[in-house]
Symmetry: C2
Subunit: 309 residues, 2 copies
């Protein structure tokens, strides 16, 4: 890991690099698109990589869509895609619960795409949708007893993904269910913000996870990047040789760290969350955890790869 | 700090202990009351301490009431109190902003008591009250631009206390205001939960602080315990000799830690958040931060002090 600028490689080294991997795991938000717009040049690079015989998987921590929706979005923005190539966290959670034969109800803090994946996996859930403070229960004294009747019986898991309706009653319920140590606590990812183009900051699932973990005093199972669980899920469909796998991403603490955790080569693109200043900071740090955040290679944008291929 | 059971002291040692302090700082929730009920025996102990000439201050991290409301609550539950003796975090924040001559608007995530303290201090604020996701803006793609128009100009501080209407739009706004490094970030406290008597867990301000700090990637100024700021505020009204000050509380990481940070003697009561199991864990730990959480003395409940006085 030394964060080599990919465009600075000699022709021979570039060819050696491209020949060195046969599988590409690519992040989506901040690499392929920002919200509903493809990042210039990225579709052509993915097309070219496929022509060179590389197997491509879309590995996203975003939990707001189901896999069908992702295929539609990919096709609309000129990315070839099949459902099998989409490795999204809502799908991973649903699939995990199915694999352990989970029969209780889940308490879901998440959006419509997450709910749809649970439906497809046959997992029952409660809690989906808006859940504002009930009228008149706005002081702590008045809360007592007022929310207790709203707890559902037989809840065996709290699931957390991005939820635009995140609210205090959802926090009370999640923390209360989680006070039973047998209740599972599974989150899609811990990304603190979305990479977006506006001057606004859009908090991500990780900010909600921070709140729930604080009040529940528990650490979650994270199925998304940087947890190797996501790579295990891919390897069930397509055997992965870590040494011949390239992870492309815009966020060091999920994408690059996944690479470090799994032994993949990593390529950071600067069209999302992590900046070159961040990388320089980690280079100077003596903390071994910071060192894991340094990518093998970087590019200003994925599109710059095209002329190198 | 060795967590001596106060009831186990000899008569002579007890007398020496009681003579050793002239000022008592006492926490409220979990020490004097749980929600709207006084904890048995606590009012009598406070009365006796005053009769022995001790000066008493109520030092609470709870930000849901203004000082007038606290005086009323004290009197109702048989605790003598004047406004000057109430050191509450909403008051401390308002007073701090006044002391630095803050002239911009604050973005308030907090409850009615907090808003009232700001009114009393002449601090302008926006954001108070319910702020659910606007209709139709429930996917991330649709958020873009949809909330931007809701940002107010001239906001120079984000203030965070307990807010039963905590919501995603509030998180977006707080994180966006805080992306300006000149915007102040001040929170009342970092207690993760309230001490309550039900089987439900009621997340505290600290859980909301965890969410905002994660998405804003900033650490707040904490005016409440365990920050010594709260003791400085008391000392402006009444000079404190740390060696002759006793801090009573139910929560090690706010009350006992404040004592450690300020050089006060500490008495933990087991009617709230921290248990004797927690204390035993810290005794065995080799982490010096854990050692600070061990109180000098403990009692099962404050009321047990009465027969010792």
């Amino acid at each position: 890991m030394n964060a080599t600028y990919l465009s600075s490689l000699s022709k021979e080294d570039l060819k050696r690099f491209v020949d060195s991997f046969d599988t590409v795991l690519t992040d989506c938000d901040g690499v392929l698109w920002v919200e509903n717009n493809a990042i210039e040049g990225s579709p052509e690079v993915l097309k070219k990589l496929r022509e060179l015989g590389k197997k491509v998987f879309y590995v996203t921590n975003n939990s707001t869509k189901d896999r069908k929706d992702y295929v539609s979005k990919c096709l609309k923005l000129n990315y070839q895609a099949t459902e099998e190539e989409i490795v999204s966290t809502a799908y991973l959670v649903a699939n995990y619960l199915k694999s352990i034969n989970f029969r209780k109800k889940a308490f879901l803090i998440g959006s419509a795409g997450f709910a749809k994946e649970l439906d497809l996996a046959g997992v029952k859930y409660v809690g989906f949708g808006p859940d504002p403070m009930p009228e008149g229960l706005t002081t702590l004294g008045s809360l007592e007893g007022g929310l207790e009747s709203l707890l559902e019986p037989d809840v065996g898991a709290v699931l957390l993904g991005f939820d635009p309706h995140f609210s205090y009653p959802k926090m009370v319920k999640a923390a209360s269910y989680l006070s039973d140590p047998n209740c599972l606590y599974i989150v899609t990812n811990t990304d603190e913000r979305f990479p977006v183009s506006s001057r606004l900051i859009y908090p991500g699932t990780g900010s909600m996870v921070a709140a729930i973990s604080a009040c529940a005093a528990r650490d979650p199972l994270v199925v998304g990047k940087p947890n190797p669980y996501v790579a295990e899920a891919v390897s069930k469909i397509h055997p992965l040789d870590p040494k011949r796998t390239l992870m492309i991403g815009d966020r060091a603490n999920s994408d690059v760290l996944l690479g470090a955790n799994c032994g993949f080569r990593t390529l950071l693109v600067l069209t999302g969350v992590t900046s070159l200043d961040d990388v320089d900071k980690w280079k100077k740090s003596s903390d071994p955890e910071d060192k894991k955040l340094i990518p093998d290679f970087y590019l200003n944008k994925l599109g710059d790869f095209l002329q190198l291929l």
